[in-house]
């Protein structure tokens, strides 16, 4: 009976094992970067919104506090996206004819909600709570970036679990005094020669943050 496999099959077999290993490696590297890519995470991508709301203008130029609109950030899980009524407190008086604000006026007039594109979207099995972060010295900026520089809202962090754990395992790196939580550009205000990490550890102790427990599954998942 003839041999089924030609002698070269040995080489091909060995080579394909090697190729397979390389392929798996390449695929792993690809996946590693792919799941962290902007395409997957939506980082630094701004979606078209019904009204091109500029945090840059409202926060930096007008000087509104975050809590003027995001009213429940200190007391609830949700920071609250303001109702149309909040927009209209000012815009019934100023820029009343601006074409850009037409959707806001329509919403107010017809009693129909504005529909914003969600940028920060956690998986449904994750239960994030704004109030506890804000009350324990995690600045808005830490997660949401320099909102005061954003002409259009944008996500700057992946909100993936490894990113959450980075801080949950070592909050001292990110914590700030609670009265600086709403400050934008806090790092620039820290005097030179001041080690933020030393202060961070003090604050962690002062705020009663139990570091060892923050990476328990039940903290975020239920």
């Amino acid at each position: 009976m003839n041999q089924i496999f030609h002698p070269s099959a040995n080489v091909i077999a060995k080579a394909s094992i090697g190729v397979l290993i390389v392929l798996v490696g390449v695929l792993s590297v690809f996946l590693y970067f792919f799941v962290r890519s902007s395409w997957m995470t939506g980082v630094n991508i701004s979606e078209p919104q019904p009204v091109p709301f500029s945090h840059l203008h409202h926060v930096r130029q007008v000087g509104l506090d975050c809590r003027y609109c995001h009213t429940s950030v200190e007391e609830a899980a949700s920071a609250n996206i303001p109702p149309t009524e909040t927009c209209m407190t000012c815009h019934s008086q100023i820029w009343t004819d601006a074409p850009m604000l037409e959707p806001v006026r329509v919403s107010w007039r017809d009693n129909v909600s504005l529909e914003w594109e969600r940028l920060h979207d956690l998986a449904d099995f994750v239960y994030f709570n704004h109030s506890i972060h804000v009350n324990k010295g995690i600045g808005c900026e830490t997660c949401h970036g320099r909102v005061d520089n954003m002409a259009l809202p944008m996500k700057v962090n992946t909100l993936q679990m490894e990113w959450c754990l980075e801080c949950h395992r070592n909050p001292a790196k990110y914590i700030r005094p609670t009265d600086e939580v709403f400050t934008m550009g806090y790092a620039e205000t820290v005097p030179a020669g001041h080690d933020p990490l030393v202060e961070g550890h003090e604050l962690v102790a002062q705020y009663g943050i139990e570091v060892g427990r923050l990476d328990n599954c039940s903290i975020c998942h239920r």
Binding site: T84, E115, S218
Partner: protein, 1001 residues
Amino acid sequence: MRKNFDIPSIRKRLEGTYGKKYWRSLEEIAETDEFQDFVKHEFPQGADQWLNPVTRRNFLKLMAASFAFGGLTACSANPPQKIVPYVRAPEELVPGKPLFFATAMPLGGVAMALLGESHEGRPTKVEGNPDHPASLGSTDALSQASVLNLYDPDRSQIISQGGMLTTWSAFVETLRGQLDSQRASGGAGLRIISETVTSPSLISLFQNVLQDFPQARWVQYDPINRDNSKEGAMMAFGEDVNTVYQFDQAEVIVSLDANFTQFGPGNVRYARDFTDKRRVREDSTAMNRLYVMETQPSATSTLADHRLPLSSAQMEAFARALAAELGVDVEAPPAESLAAVPENWLGAIARDLQANAGKSIVIVGENQAPVVHALAHAMNDALGNVGQTVIYSEPLEGTSTNQMQELRLLADDMINDRVEVLLVIDANPVYNAPADTRFAEAIRRVPFRAKIGLYVDETGALCEWNIPLSHYLESWFDARAYDGVVSLTQPLVDPLYSSKTAHQFVAAMIGQSESSDYDLVRDYWSNELSDSNFDTLWQTSLHDGFIADTAPPTKSVSVSTAEINAVEPAESSGLEINFRPDPTVWDGRFANNGWLQELPKPISKLTWENVAAISPATAEELNLTNGDLVELRYRGRSVQAPIWVFPGQADGTVVTTLGYGRTLAGRVGSDIGFSAYSLQNSDAPWSDSGAELTQVGRGYKLASTQTHYNMEGRDPVRTGTIDHFREDPEFVQHMGEHGPFDPNSSLMPGWEYNSYAWGMVVDLNTCNGCNACVVACQAENNIPVVGKDQVLVGREMQWMRIDSYFEGELDNPQPLNQPMLCQHCEQAPCELVCPVGATVHDAEGLNVMVYNRCVGTRYCSNNCPYKVRRFNFLDFVDYTTESLKGQRNPDVSVRVRGVMEKCTYCVQRISEARIRAKIEDRRIADGEVISACQGACPTKAIYFGDINDPDSEVAKLKAQPQNYGVLTELGTRPRTTYLAKFTNPNPELEDPNAHEDNGHG
């Protein structure tokens, strides 16, 4: 076909054992093959196979799931979502924070006080109203489940005429025409049938209608009504009264078939008051004493110190004999009618009652004959209980009627063509009227029929006009609670459909068709109370859930035994048939509620079914066994019913429950079980002799969860007498298979809990197994319903179950309850075997289930000695029915197929409290975290808290000598422990063989 078991051999096995013997089911003692199969397999055989026929919907669902699990989701970014804020934010509403509003659920016309939980305007769950005397913060299973009815996709949704969409104004127009044609005759052809109404504002609207139409008749009918207690009161006092019992004042209670901790007005309050006198602690061992005479074991009798199975006919004789013994002027019945009563019982009970005169209660179940009620009144009077433990006041309905009599008159009128216009208000007599009224036939003779109801049900289908009724969570309403206090129902949501309330419907008859339900209720009370400060009073009442000082004043009455003596003693011959409210679907109104259908009924643990239950001796005599199909024949009518042998039931009785055999209940409740109403007769609605059973088939599959998750005879329930506990408080510790566990024998290092350590204690001495906790857990934790086929293969998903055990002999065992849920072991066997770390320990000692990590190996469940893990085999969550989504709790993940799940100790509530406490820089206070089961429990049998805090209630209870853990000999160190159950037997009746409590093991 093989027989399941034979009773004589079971008796023999039970006799052959020594000491205390606990058993769970007849199949267990008989060691049937089927039972052995079930126990051997972690999940019953074939549990992972898809049994449903492949329907198009299932196929698509399966395909969708396959694609999802095929990893497609892993390669795509999150699907885009919208944020939709309010235009004008409602006051006080913070997104993500639930609001609670006081409201009330009417059942049989009587209000059960509740707090509705609203998430952004969606009612998701109810809790008890702590300020209201009927609730004191607790609820029962029916009210917990009522939320699901709001979202029931089969609710009546449109105003229809002959099935075609129409409008309210079109209906009002037609109704006006019909009423105008009745005006000349004073409404002689007009009939209205409603459920029981205790609402003062609705009664006043009805009175306005009857003023316009003096010849019209308004009939109230609930199949589970209070006719018997009304007639009993008439017999004893010559007038109707509402009886309120003060169980918190009573030391000795004799229940004549009264399941007062589970059924009927005041059940939640009574359960609390009654068990408050049974909270045994090391330093307070006083206990009240409960004697239960009953036809079939009930939730209440699981708390009994002495129980005696008696048929309804024997009950009457017993009541007469006991009354005579107590010195009431009645004739003692002949001795042969008391054959079932052990000879020293009557004397012993009577002496016990007399020793506690003024501190005792004789209470009678609604299903007992009027004369038994009258006898109880006479006994309470003779014992001086009236004014102490038994309070009389005006009936809740104002003027009460004999509902059955009225219904019969109505049916007669219809048959004789005396009715031209019939308006049905939330009643379903076509289904639930007794068969002899021939209601379905009669109603077809009425030319104009209109119905307002939650469903287009059996009655709705025979009405030309159907108006959707608002659910109580969508309505303004008022109703009296068990003690007569007016409770307010306020809506938590605008009506989901174009529905109207009963108030609006009746108002339309007097030309107020455009009035809002709010105005109708509020205006009535504004006139009635004529308080200058009405606005404040109204706001306070809405906040509290009731209008203060509206309970009717106490009434003084005097007993006469003349009429009692005039009643001929009941005679019985042959098999006695008994009709009972169903503990889950009640009178049938909850038939389309999946939570209740799948709720294992107390003691029998049957789901999705009603049965013809018989006692073991009767089964032996008739050669019947579980799952036999019989023809149940009574007064010439018959139904086919499956047999269930109920240990502890009275011999010579068949007990069936109402509420099944619906034909138009909806997708869940139609065509399951048989309709007991089709046997019922209006002259003997609750019990009668003359039933016959003929076997017609075998092997009917009954979905009882009783044999699931067996514990292989390790005595997880520990019981003893209170005297034994007084003598030797530690005796409970020495029970169990291997005695206490030595912590040093574990190889596994212990955990350290520096902060909180959550733990639970369940007091078996007060648990009556009423199931409120199980439904509360289901509502809180988004637990799906699986259906009868799936229950049969052991796939039920409830995180909590109530195991029932029997202790003692076959014919009169003591039923026992044990709520069983994740024990949150400190050395959890499940954690060790999970290959993907999906079940892990957290720093507070919670055994955490991480759904997003679970790959479904089920090793954890294999290794769990308590069998409390539930695996979602087939994507049981309904993702397709839009309306059901509204009910889900947004704080808890909705789990998909292939994921293990289990009790979390309501981790969402712990998280919420932890965050609140952290923000306020304090520790979580004791009692701040209330688990869903704990909150619902009417008897406050469940305690939850931080066991690291020695001052917490739960830590103190764990230090009690009767505190024990289940299967602690395995070294699991469960965080859930139990307080042993005690009985307080009358020394005169004590079994000489008692005191063998510690003999086992």
